[in-house]
């Protein structure tokens, strides 16, 4: 109903544009060519003015609901804080956040570093644990997907190990690696490997049989099958696995760092709890959430770039 209001100017401008294009694309009509740029220019102006209000409306509808959502969160938070149970109010926390983010990269020894350093060292651990998990998990997923024997061999192991809580792995890491940092990385590794193994394997098993029939008729070598058929067909599944794995890794790192200490966002949360600095804890929660959000969004963007229409269907 709303869009109907804009129909007539839009239609008119489309017609004008079409006329201009027709004039441009017909080489035989030489005299028309001279008039074409002028017609085109006059057509562009109404398009802009006609579309502008419509776009504002769409933008409005896109922005208002999320803003309302965040407002609701802040409202609930303010209500809880007003009960006087030690939770700082949103305004206080915001003020504190400004001080913290004005100098995110200071360093006063290992126990007092800026939030930037904390986030970066957490990300570094995630990158290492997750990177190793990808290096092992993706090829393993390919093998499990490709060979039924291996699938039957590994499936019970995966089913057994996957549901184990990340923190249960931490003592094993501490025991084997004799250090907090490698133990945290180990925990990330062991928790983020499963989504990649499982998704890659499922992707390989779900490669359309048509594509495999093409490979069989052409009698392609195993290398060609992997590079030209399996890998591109599995890529979207694999990237889903990667996305889930990064999400898990980011969840795990905070818990692991709380226990292992050192520099990192999880340790920072625990440290601020020991200082009874609740404002910083809330800021840390927001930072953790935003970093997770950014990681997720970046990987979704990556996944859509590598997904072909026909695979999605």
């Amino acid at each position: 109903m709303v869009s109907a209001v804009f129909h007539s100017p839009l239609d008119a401008s489309i017609a004008a544009k079409a006329a201009a294009q027709a004039a441009l694309s017909s080489p035989s009509a030489a005299p028309l060519k001279v008039a074409a740029p002028a017609a085109n220019a006059s057509a562009v102006a109404p398009v802009v003015s006609a579309r502008q209000p419509f776009d504002w409306r769409a933008l409005w509808l896109r922005i208002v609901p999320p803003v309302l959502g965040i407002a609701l969160l802040v409202l609930v938070w303010a209500l809880v804080a007003s009960k006087g149970n030690g939770i700082p109010t949103p305004a206080e926390t915001f003020k504190q956040a400004i001080t913290i983010f004005s100098d995110p990269f200071y360093s006063n020894g290992p126990n007092d570093q800026g939030v930037g350093w904390n986030v970066l060292s957490s990300l570094q651990r995630v990158a290492m644990g997750f990177g190793m998990a990808a290096l092992v998990g993706i090829p393993l997923g390919f093998l499990i997907g490709r060979f039924t024997f291996l699938s039957r061999m590994f499936n019970p192991l995966i089913s057994l190990l996957r549901p184990v809580s990340p923190l249960a792995w931490l003592p094993i890491g501490l025991l084997v690696f004799k250090g907090a940092n490698p133990a945290a990385i180990w925990t990330i590794f062991i928790c983020s490997i499963w989504p990649m193994v499982i998704n890659t394997a499922v992707g390989v098993q779900r490669v359309p049989s048509d594509y495999m029939n093409v490979a069989r008729v052409l009698n392609l070598s195993e290398w060609k099958i992997i590079t030209k058929i399996l890998f591109p067909a599995v890529l979207p599944y694999m990237l889903t696995g990667v996305r889930l794995a990064v999400g898990t890794a980011w969840l795990v790192i905070v818990a692991a760092e709380m226990l292992t200490g050192g520099v990192g966002i999880g340790f920072w949360v625990w440290d601020e709890w020991n200082n009874l600095n609740v404002k910083n804890i809330i800021i840390a929660i927001f930072v953790i959430g935003i970093v997770g959000l950014v990681l997720e969004a970046a990987l979704i963007k990556l996944a859509t770039a590598f997904t072909f229409e026909e695979v999605k269907a």
Binding site: N213, V217, N219, L220, K228, I229, F308
Partner: protein, 279 residues
């Protein structure tokens, strides 16, 4: 090449195909005996579910028969191979490769370093590219060579599939309802193109179809299958129409109409109880 081999280029004898299902064995095909001569165009026709595609897959080597033997050029068909190229029902192009790359994959396999093992020298990249270009030109798709399958129409995709199959210079061209998913006009155009290409390349073709007109227009012989389960060859009709054939002049040709009536009689009078069986 001796006469025996020429008249029995593909020899199918006593073939039976049984599938294991949850409800026990299902006999799809039984007692299939058929030979296809070199350069012959044979269509397999029958109601859906009668095992046409099963038979084609057996010739392709994608499945192995439970009983009986299939020979191609006097050698047992042990598995799929590029000498028996398949045009799939749903084109089966790889969506992440351009049309050119889809065809090149096949050309490279057959004529490149990995293909030529018995004496023939491997061709270099320029020759392989030339072959690919030629195959795409054959189906009139040179302008779409650099497009991906998602960017072209269904008819064009099917043509790329045909180009891929033809580019391999197969001994036998196997087509599984290649035009089934297309609209009538596109289908007619591709049928004419196929007639033209086959006349030039003298390919041996086995094609599955459920379209009576398509079968009569294209075939030298029409193999009609009875209804499944346990389908077998009910009748073989030889189409003696002279080539080149034109759909326009054939439309009123008595011989064409007679052949068409023969197929329709078989499909709708003698084998019409398909719904009853399914119920």
């Amino acid at each position: 090449m001796n006469d025996h081999l020429t008249s029995k280029y593909i020899a199918i004898s006593g073939v039976e195909q049984t599938f294991k299902t949850a409800k026990g064995p299902f006999v799809a095909l039984r007692d299939i005996n058929l030979s296809v001569a070199k350069g012959e165009f044979v269509t397999l026709i029958g109601h859906s579910g009668c095992g046409k595609s099963t038979l084609l897959n057996l010739i392709a080597g994608l499945t192995t028969p439970t009983q009986g033997t299939l020979l191609c050029a006097n050698r047992e068909i042990a598995g799929p191979g590029p000498e028996r190229a398949v045009v799939f029902q749903n084109h089966s192009l790889l969506p992440w490769l351009t049309c050119f790359e889809n065809v090149y994959l096949a050309v490279e396999r057959v004529f490149g370093a990995s293909g030529r093992v018995n004496g023939m020298p491997a061709e270099n990249k320029a020759q392989l590219r030339a072959r690919t270009d030629a195959a795409l030109a054959l189906v009139g798709l040179t302008p779409a060579a650099q497009k991906r399958p998602g960017e072209i129409s269904g008819g064009m995709k099917q043509r790329v599939g045909i180009a891929r199959a033809l580019s391999m210079e197969p001994k036998v061209l196997l087509m599984d309802e290649p035009f089934g998913a297309l609209d009538a006009l596109t289908r007619a155009k591709l049928q004419d193109e196929l007639l033209d290409i086959v006349a030039r390349t003298h390919s041996t073709v086995v094609m599955v179809t459920h379209d009576v007109d398509e079968a009569v227009l294209l075939s030298d012989r029409i193999v009609m299958l009875t209804n499944g389960p346990a389908a077998t060859i009910g009748e073989v009709l030889t189409v003696n129409l002279p080539r080149p054939r034109s759909r326009v002049t054939l439309a009123e040709d008595p011989q064409y109409l007679q052949a068409r009536k023969g197929v329709i009689d078989f499909l709708y009078t003698r084998q019409s109880h398909v719904e009853k069986l399914a119920a």
